[in-house]
């Protein structure tokens, strides 16, 4: 649709306004993270420090932070691998099998996506306690796999439904077993779906807070979100360090998102728009 010149100008101003509203808090986070501890805060706020420094990053990258980072990495990557594997196997059967119970099972997957985490956390906590898993990686990985699995199945199901049936059918005619079709045809073809789902699971687990706060009790098991929250009280309002830590926590997921944005956007919208 072609716009008139004045409409176009107004729309471009709106674009600018939108970008500014979204970016201002980010810009400030970054600017404060570069502010030397000696430079005072002032009203009106100074948007850019007079002598920027990376001191805050150096201080914030303390041993505890590195431990939290490592814990987050272990828990998130394990969750991504397990969830996506289980999700793909299930999604394959959900889209290819002709089972009588199928529509009921799909309903159970959809319903499970809506369970409030806070409403089921107490029985899960007690199960972890009985199993002796509290304050271990496994308590978090198990919890994260279960809460991300329904959405992962749903996203992968959307992708598998869109694969052309003819390729698999002709392979079946040539005598390929279902397992062979799965490995040689379905897995390679669903790569975009696997990437999109992995990014989604990573973003969710990297920031998960409620389970991590409830299931970990010692500093050596904390993940980044909980560790970051601890920093607030611990170091008073040393905002420079807090903002530097925040930037370091956010960078990995942002970087991954930017490289794989295309897949992720397709994955998120496929379920909602077509489903």
């Amino acid at each position: 649709m072609k716009q008139s010149r004045s409409t176009r100008l107004i729309l471009m101003l709106l674009q600018l306004l939108l970008a500014a509203a979204v970016l201002l808090p980010f810009f400030w986070m970054f600017s404060v993270s570069l502010k030397p501890a000696t430079e005072p805060f002032a009203i009106p706020a100074r948007l850019w420090p007079s002598s920027p420094t990376i001191d805050n990053y150096v201080t914030a990258f303390r041993p505890e932070f590195r431990t939290y980072f490592f814990n987050s990495l272990v828990v998130s990557l394990s969750t991504v691998i397990i969830t996506v594997t289980l999700g793909l196997l299930a999604a394959y059967s959900f889209t290819r099998a002709q089972l009588a119970a199928m529509s009921a099972l799909v309903g159970l997957v959809v319903l499970a996506q809506m369970f409030p985490h806070s409403a089921i956390i107490i029985p899960i906590y007690k199960m972890m306690r009985s199993a002796g898993l509290l304050n271990t990686y496994w308590s978090l990985i198990l919890a994260y796999v279960s809460v991300t699995l329904p959405v992962a199945i749903w996203m992968l199901r959307g992708f598998l439904l869109k694969l052309p049936a003819s390729i698999e059918e002709s392979a079946a005619v040539d005598g390929a077993t279902p397992m062979r079709i799965f490995w040689d045809i379905v897995v390679p073809l669903s790569r975009p779906g696997l990437i999109a789902t992995s990014v989604y699971v990573l973003i969710v687990t990297w920031q998960e807070f409620l389970f991590a706060l409830s299931f970990t009790s010692t500093k050596d098991m904390r993940t980044l979100p909980v560790g970051l929250n601890d920093f607030i009280g611990q170091y008073g309002i040393r905002y420079g360090e807090l903002m530097a830590s925040s930037v370091m926590v956010s960078l990995p997921v942002m970087a991954i998102f930017f490289f794989l944005q295309r897949y992720f956007v397709a994955g998120i919208t496929a379920g909602a728009v077509k489903g």
Binding site: L11, L14, L18, A19, I121, I122, S214, I232, S246, S250
Partner: protein, 294 residues
């Protein structure tokens, strides 16, 4: 075929077992817990019937939490969807830099929730925060406001932070829907002399109606259950002014080790959420019938 059936059950089994043990069983477990009392001193659960329900209902905090949850959910859902839709409309226009702008708009959505909350805590800081600084400079306020410590401002403040974080998600879904709208219909309406506003209400909105419904239900559920922002910004305070079900459940369960009462709040939260979704379904159904009749 028979063999295939076994194979498919085998592939489904791991996912089904995980969901049964870690989601459906705990869901029933919450109901069980709500009939059993535990405390820090008496960790062994004891059956108490409906006693915990009576205790929760007799406590004024419950009604504060209920009201807060509704205000919070409706506030965030409405603002986030309106803002998300308007942003999607803008991003759907033929303008330069749209790809870059979309990536920028998505930033708050990828930002970890705790980071977003800490950032907004800092933005709202009465002495150092950017919000007061900007409003003072523009002249909208004449003295610094303690946004999160003032019980009249706290809820509005957490809602604004949550909308900033959440609207990109709604935008993404609306944008995908807008890109799927049949362009020939819009062109036909234009030829009939319909202006942009008429086209929006007569062609675009009816075409994406299902996506609007999905988006609202989705954000309703996500917002109702969202814990991170409020916990980091206010911990439910001041004086429970921002306590919603998830923060109250966490505080009761893991702050005070009253698992039974926390589970009772959990059961209530599920009922209230189901009621909100059902109410929306009724309103939406009514609107659809009126439209069909018209």
């Amino acid at each position: 075929m028979r063999q295939d059936r076994w194979l498919h059950w085998l592939l489904l089994a791991p996912a089904l077992v995980v969901m049964a043990v870690m989601l459906y069983y705990p869901m029933l477990g919450t109901v069980y817990e709500s009939f059993h009392e535990t405390s820090f001193l008496n960790p062994d659960p004891k059956f108490v019937g409906f006693a915990l329900y009576q205790r929760v209902l007799a406590d004024g905090t419950f009604y504060t939490v209920l009201l807060n949850s509704i205000v919070w959910t409706l506030g965030v859902v409405l603002l986030q969807n309106i803002l998300g839709f308007l942003t999607a409309l803008l991003l759907n226009q033929q303008l330069p830099m749209q790809g870059v702008l979309r990536a920028i708009v998505l930033l708050p959505f990828i930002l970890p929730g705790v980071v977003a909350a800490i950032l907004w805590r800092f933005m709202y800081d009465p002495q150092l925060g950017l919000v007061n600084s900007l409003l003072l400079q523009v002249g909208l306020i004449d003295h610094s406001i303690a946004w999160l410590a003032d019980s009249r401002m706290a809820m509005a403040s957490v809602i604004v932070a949550a909308v900033w974080k959440g609207f990109p998600f709604s935008m993404l879904i609306y944008l995908a829907a807008l890109q799927n709208v049949d362009q020939s219909q819009i062109e036909a309406a234009t030829l009939d002399g319909a202006g942009p506003v008429r086209r929006l209400f007569d062609v675009t909105l009816p075409a994406i109606r299902d996506v609007v419904v999905v988006n609202i239900v989705l954000t309703l559920i996500l917002t109702f259950n969202y814990f991170d922002i409020i916990w980091v910004l206010t911990k439910g305070g001041p004086q429970s002014a921002t306590h919603i079900f998830p923060t109250k459940i966490f505080e009761t369960g893991f702050g005070q080790f009253r698992f039974g009462e926390a589970a009772t709040y959990g059961v209530f939260s599920i009922l209230v959420l189901a009621l909100l979704v059902a109410l929306y379904a009724i309103v939406q159904g009514g609107a659809n019938r009126r439209r069909a009749a018209a």
